[in-house]
Amino acid sequence: METYYQSYGVVLAVLIAGVALVAVAFGAAALLAPRRPLPAKLATYECGMDPVGEGWSQTQIRYYIFGFLFVIFDVESVFLFPWARVFEGLGMTAVVEMAIFIGILALGLVYAWRKGVLRWV
């Protein structure tokens, strides 16, 4: 029987195989593909016009609130999985406890919704 870490050997091997695939393919492309860089070809593509301003432009702050909400619920889901695996043996107490936990988070979602931050403006 193999040890715990040995069972992840396959995952590691597949990751290495994936990296090798990308490396070999890029190598093949470097050998086969033509290389004729022209100033116009290397310009940033903007519908055929000359690019205006910087490419790394400013973006909307609205992503930040969604990012926050996401982190809260994603951490919750990390807590959920171990609980989902064993809650049956713990009975109703465990379900009620998780219901309270989910309830508090859901309350936060309702609050965010009533405050209007879930509107994408």
């Binding site: 396959v10 809650f87 989910i102 509107r119």
Partner: protein, 335 residues
């Protein structure tokens, strides 16, 4: 109901630990290179026929079956353009970062109780983790391109992943609750009496919609909306790098179809009375059927708006998924 997981076939033929690992990695890699091509070809043909066209007909003589192989050869010969303004290293690494997680994901997908690479005890958790790494590649692509449209596409992709990762994970959590195990094979074995799509139909819908969104497939294709932002994060990509992004999209379709089959459609289990047909055939048939559905959606629905997309997830899918977790919990403890 923990599965009496069989031994993978490869382990029965070969005994050396290292040889087994190499063989498994080779099989997974070959599967990843073949299955997305089949789905890609299916998309060409299905979309064409749904629009009263024939689709590819020439490559390989018979109904253009070799079209995607020809495309691949063509892509390799195309010039690799890196824009002057771009960050060259991040720009070149992005396609790999987007694609490799999907290869790793297939390690835990079982095709029968004998045919699998690894029966990981945290299988579904691993799958969820791997499936969300790929968006980092898209963010890298969008940022490194130094192009406004790329950046917009990348940020849309990130926002979309944030919104739809949650319903996906929460729906998977309620399947784990019912199955009582995180192992992919364990979940399939737990569906021996009935498929979970019967006990959790809403969960299946949530999962399927969220998976479509996570893949940025129409009607959730705002990140690459070609009529608005050229081609999103992939605007500046040419040749093989562009092909890798396409490959990871089709690999993703296969991956999410496989996960949905395992979670809800009984994986490799045959429907009642049809167990004469071997298990891998059933798994392949279910993956093909779900991939077909995803392609069908593309031919049917117009693109959503960004605000509609966010509202749909936060105000409908996530509350529904949370409610379902509680319902499954109460039912499972009481009954």
């Amino acid at each position: 109901m923990i599965a009496q997981a069989g031994v993978s076939v490869i382990e029965r033929w070969i005994s050396s630990y290292w040889l087994v690992i190499v063989a498994k990695a080779a099989v997974v890699l070959v599967f990843f290179l073949v299955a997305p091509l089949l789905v890609g070809y299916m998309e060409h043909k299905v979309l064409a026929h749904m629009q009263s066209r024939l689709g590819p007909m020439y490559a390989g003589r018979f109904h253009g079956w070799a079209q995607l192989i020809a495309d691949g050869i063509k892509f390799v010969q195309k010039e690799d353009v890196i824009p002057r303004a771009a960050d060259p290293w991040v720009f070149s690494l992005a396609p790999g970062v987007a694609m490799i997680p999907y290869i790793a994901l297939f390690v835990v997908v079982p095709f029968s109780d004998q045919i699998f690479a690894l029966n990981l005890d945290v299988g579904i958790f691993f799958v969820m983790a791997m499936s969300s790494v790929s968006v980092i590649g898209i963010l890298m692509a969008g940022w490194a391109s130094a192009n406004k449209f790329s950046l917009m596409g990348a940020l849309r992709a990130a926002a979309q992943l944030m919104a739809y990762e949650l319903p996906l994970v929460l729906a998977a959590a309620s399947v784990v609750m019912q199955a009582g195990t995180l192992s992919m094979i364990g979940i399939v074995e737990a569906q021996e009496r009935y498929w979970f799509v019967l006990s959790q139909p809403i969960g299946f819908l949530i999962f399927f919609v969220a998976a479509t969104a996570e893949l940025s497939r129409p009607p959730f294709d705002m990140p690459i909306a070609d009529s608005e932002i050229i081609f999103g994060a992939f605007t500046e990509y040419t040749g093989l790098k562009f092909a890798f992004f396409l490959l990871s999209e089709y690999g993703g379709i296969v991956a999410f179809s496989a996960i949905a089959s395992v979670l809800y459609l009984g994986g490799y289990q045959a429907p009642p009375l049809l167990s004469a047909i071997p298990a891998p055939v059933w798994m392949a048939a279910k993956v093909a059927a779900l991939s077909f559905l995803i392609i069908w959606l593309r031919a049917t629905y117009p693109r959503l708006r960004e605000d509609q997309l966010q509202r749909f997830s936060w105000l409908l899918l996530i509350p529904l998924a949370l409610a379902q977790i509680l319902v499954v919990g109460v039912v499972k403890v009481w009954v």
